[in-house]
């Protein structure tokens, strides 16, 4: 049975390995916030147990046995993070610390129970892959968001820097893994402008470099629902309201009848000319064509 301390070290080496091999003593010291001599001491111990290969002045590389132990810890860590956000509703900026405490006390029985509660998941809340039983991780190819050029649509994959401050900032702007943003422009003041749904967000370079993302493929782009005017829905089609327009009076009237962004509508009758009949919130509402023209929707297959 490996001690908590050992698990911490292996985890740190595992995390660092993706960017540097071998992992230097100094970066381990930085990661775990311990002194250099202590690290060296520990690394020698780990080598003795056959968990790492250690070369003085260069650093450490995990052995197969070490990698297994490390991924098993990382797996528990990320499962716990999921549990804390998804089930207990904690914010994603506090769960890393909590998971660090819980991971070491997790028996295989608890791990199994966690899995069954969480269901089908493959990443932690910050977007990093959860290793499977054999320690294999599916990591999606990604690059810093900052490096994706304007005009592209990108899917955010993961957050590189998991410090609470960064996470809080990201949460505020609504950016999390799996959200799709379009890159609008890179600005002279070292910021990047993004569009998330209808909101324009501005991120500083530092933050944007910490978000890993990938450009959407042509196939994915084609699948993004297109925003159309409501009057273009044909009878029988459903849509989700995206925007509501029209002068003050019209806007207020539409809103009070339930046409708010996110509401589901079903086109009941649309003859190409004249008024349309739309079902919303269990009732049919007649809209002059002019009104329907000024509302936008995306088609949906939600059964009304």
């Amino acid at each position: 049975m490996a001690s908590e301390r050992i698990e911490e070290y292996l985890e740190a080496i595992y995390r660092k390995q993706s960017t540097e091999t071998p992992v230097s003593t100094s970066s381990i010291a930085e990661e775990l916030k311990v002194s250099l001599p202590a690290v060296t001491d520990m690394l020698l111990k780990l080598e003795k147990r056959g968990l790492i290969e250690y070369t003085a002045n260069k650093g450490a590389v995990l052995t197969e046995q070490g990698r297994k132990l490390a991924t098993s810890t990382v797996r528990k860590h990320r499962l716990w993070e999921r549990f804390l956000t998804d089930i207990l509703g904690l914010q994603w900026d506090v769960v890393d610390n909590e998971a660090c405490r819980l991971e070491h006390a997790t028996s295989p029985v608890t791990e199994k129970a966690l899995l069954s509660v969480l269901g089908d998941i493959d990443t932690c809340p910050h977007g990093h892959g959860i290793p499977d039983k054999n320690g294999n991780v599916k990591e999606e190819k990604a690059m810093p968001l900052w490096e994706i050029s304007p005009g592209h649509k990108a899917c955010i994959i993961s957050v590189n820097d998991e410090t609470p401050e960064t996470l809080r900032q990201l949460q505020k702007s609504g950016l999390k893994p799996r959200t799709v943003v379009s890159i609008e422009s890179k600005n002279s003041d070292n910021t990047i402008s993004l569009k998330l749904a209808d909101h324009l967000i501005s991120l500083h370079k530092e933050l944007a470099s910490n978000l890993l993302a990938r450009s959407l493929t042509a196939k994915e782009l084609a699948e993004i629902p297109e925003e159309i005017s409501m009057s273009h829905l044909s009878a029988g089609e459903s849509g989700i309201v995206k925007s509501v327009g029209g002068g003050r009076g019209v806007l207020g009237r539409c809103l009070s009848l339930g046409f708010t962004p996110g509401s589901v509508v079903k086109m009941v009758e649309n003859f190409g000319k004249g008024p349309v009949l739309v079902k919303i919130q269990d009732t049919e509402v007649a809209l002059g064509r002019g009104v329907a023209d000024r509302m936008t929707v995306v088609r949906s297959n939600i059964k009304y």
Binding site: G252, Q281, V291
Partner: protein, 663 residues
């Protein structure tokens, strides 16, 4: 003397609020107008457990933002009059939509009861509502009921009494809908800019919400009161007002969604409901029109087959018999008094009143279609035809009502929300041939055209509708300014009609007409009588005849003698008076009115006369209704002058063209 409690009945359209109101007040209700507004106000009194409860029926609204006069009235009553209790009537079958208004009541912090009406319809639709859960979530009584089936009304009254006797302690709402949302900050900043004094009588937080929702009235009020140096701050905070309005509505919808999750259980919708299946035909551009025409044909044939014989009966047994009685038995009176009673009162006002059965039947048939929910479909189907006129579908409803009588039609334009579209509809309504004018048309056509009379009458109806459409296009383009009308209208579920309510509404509409007959029509009848009896007590030498003779040169251009001009002028009292006047004018000739008419008119001049009569200035009752609804002498005058010129010009053209074809 106990101070009466004031209870307001509030709710959206199509929730059965009128039915609930009728059940609560019975026949004690009083129908009038809201002060200074052309919106109907119904009040009534309920006595229970030593309490006097004054019930006020607020206009049906979807929200409390002043998008329309109705909404303005409703929320001003709630804020300024501070009723002791508000009964919010909800349609249980579309609770989600109805809770939006409740969200606004909660924000306003007013004491309320929720009347969950149409609970039976909801059950049929597979919707189950846990009233208890809703009640404890909102801390207000929730009474499930069905006004149409007369169930739950006792419980509602008990709840009203209980709330009035022991009002709940009002919980100061601290957890506003915007808590923890992106808009909270802006709301706080605007709140800091205002003071309670500044927003009086409106609550401060509520005022801020309305500012952000783009409420014109509140905006004006605050801008007038806010010191100049703070105006700029407010402007910058309201910069993204439209986005804010959407955000607030979305937050309110989320609140509603939460309430729905707490209290509503819904089976997935099964097969299409009866409403849906019938609507596919009734709202279709082709079959919808066919259904509309079929239903209207049915209504008119019912009205004419039952109403017209009744009118004839009343005319011969009351008016004619009465006049005979006066002339033969009241000989102790001076002859002038006899004539006044017989001609001015019975002949003038009495004849008008014989049309009551026709009117009542028409109102009843129309009320039936309204209550069943069909009229909204009429508006939908007709919408596409109304756009060239700058109107939308709703304008069709008063216009159709105009075939019965123009007076309630002018009043009925209140359902149109845009002031511009409403004014245009008011101006066009008098061009719809009402039953009074149709009586003249059928009478004259029968006299002149014999077997082809029906064809001519129908032609005149279609012709006047065409003239109305052309006038609409012209007035819309040339005269009116302002925003074009926009159709946003809920199509209610069809439901079983509530005959008591229909009868009551039809009765109220008919009474409105009778009241006018007793006032403006009476005055006009007396004036016409005076004009036709002085000087000389002989119609041939009277002022009326002199006016008619003065107009003869104009009449001549279309082959009409002075008698026809006088008959036309008499139609100002009431359109059907034309016949009575002709009767008087032609009485000297022994051949009977029919034959006398044939001597006076050629087919061409008869056509011209029919067109003239149908398009001539509205009757005095309609004019008074136009003035009441437009609240403007300018537009009333416009209507008169417009139709005066229109009728003579069109009749002249018709005469000239007809002369070419018929000898």
């Amino acid at each position: 003397m106990i101070k009466p409690a004031i209870v307001a009945l509030a709710g959206s359209p199509n929730v059965g609020k009128s039915t609930v109101f009728n059940l609560l007040t019975g026949l004690s209700q009083h129908v009038g107008n809201w002060p200074g507004k052309t919106v109907e106000q119904k009040t009534g009194t309920l006595y229970r457990d030593g309490l006097i409860i004054n019930l006020v029926d607020l206009p049906g609204t979807y929200s409390l933002t002043a998008n329309s006069t109705e909404e303005l009235i409703a929320r001003d009553f709630l804020v300024r009059e501070q009723p002791d209790l508000v009964v919010a009537v909800l349609n249980a079958a579309s609770l989600q939509r109805n809770l939006y208004l409740v969200a606004e009541f909660v924000e306003l912090g007013i004491p309320m009861i929720l009347a969950l009406n149409m609970i039976d319809v909801a059950q049929q639709e597979g919707i189950r509502i846990n009233a208890q859960a809703l009640s404890s979530a909102l801390n207000v009584p929730v009474i499930p009921m069905s006004a149409a089936k007369n169930s739950g009304i006792r419980e509602l009254i008990d709840a009203i009494v209980a709330e009035l006797q022991h009002p709940r302690i009002k919980i100061q709402q601290t957890d506003h809908i915007e808590t923890d949302s992106e808009i909270e900050n802006i709301i706080k900043q605007i709140e800091a800019l205002l003071t309670d004094e500044l927003t009086n009588p409106y609550p401060k937080h509520w005022t801020v919400m309305k500012l952000l929702e783009g409420d014109q009235e509140i905006n004006k009020l605050i801008r007038n009161r806010l010191p100049v140096e703070k105006q700029k701050n407010l402007d910058s905070l309201l910069e993204n007002q439209e986005t804010s309005a959407i955000t607030i509505a979305t937050l309110r919808s989320q609140w509603v969604q939460n309430m729905i999750m707490i209290c509503q259980e819904k089976k997935s919708p099964g097969k299409a409901s009866l409403t849906e299946r019938f609507d596919r035909a009734a709202t279709h551009p082709v079959s919808g029109i066919i259904i509309l025409i079929a239903i209207m044909a049915l209504v008119f044939s019912l009205v004419y087959n039952i109403g017209v014989p009744l009118q004839h009966l009343l005319n011969s047994y009351l008016v004619e018999a009465g006049r005979k009685l006066i002339y033969t038995s009241f000989t102790f009176m001076p002859i002038l008094l006899q004539s006044f009673l017989a001609d001015a009162l019975l002949g003038g006002v009495g004849t008008v009143l014989t049309f009551i059965p026709i009117l009542f039947l028409f109102f009843f048939a129309w009320g039936f279609l309204e209550d069943v929910g069909y009229t909204a479909r009429v508006a939908f189907v007709a919408d596409r035809f109304m756009h060239p006129l700058g109107l939308h579908g709703k304008s069709v409803l008063p216009l159709v009502l105009g075939f019965g009588c123009n007076v309630p039609a002018v009043t009925g334009t209140r359902i149109i929300d845009s002031p511009r579209a409403r004014l245009l509809t008011i101006l066009l309504t008098p061009l719809i041939p009402c039953t009074g004018r149709m009586a003249v048309v059928t009478f004259t056509a029968a006299a002149i055209f014999g077997t082809r009379a029906t064809f001519v009458s129908l032609g005149i109806i279609i012709f006047s509708i065409l003239i109305m459409l052309i006038s609409g296009i012209v007035i819309n383009r040339a005269v009116l300014r302002g925003e074009k009308a926009i159709l946003i209208m809920e199509l209610p579920l069809y439901h079983i009609p509530h005959f008591k309510l229909i009868a009551l509404t039809s009765w109220q509409r008919t009474m409105g007409f009778i009241k006018r007959a007793g006032t403006v029509i009476l005055v006009a009848a007396v004036i016409i009588w005076l004009l036709s009896h002085f000087p000389g007590d002989n119609i041939e030498t009277s002022l009326l005849a002199q006016i008619g003779k003065g107009l003869e040169p104009i009449g001549r251009t279309m082959g009409l003698g002075w008698q026809m001009m006088v008959a036309l002028l008499a139609s100002f009292v009431a359109k059907e008076n034309t016949i009575a006047t002709l009767g008087v004018l032609l009485a000297g000739k022994d051949v009977g009115v029919y034959t006398a008419l044939q001597d006076l008119l050629t087919p061409a001049s008869a056509l011209a006369f029919l067109v003239l009569q149908v398009l001539f200035i509205p009757c005095v009752a309609t004019v008074s209704a136009i003035h009441q609804e437009t609240q403007s002498w300018k537009w009333t005058g416009f209507s008169l002058v417009f139709q005066l010129i229109l009728s003579f010009a069109v009749a002249f053209i018709v005469f000239k063209i007809a002369s070419l074809f018929i000898q």
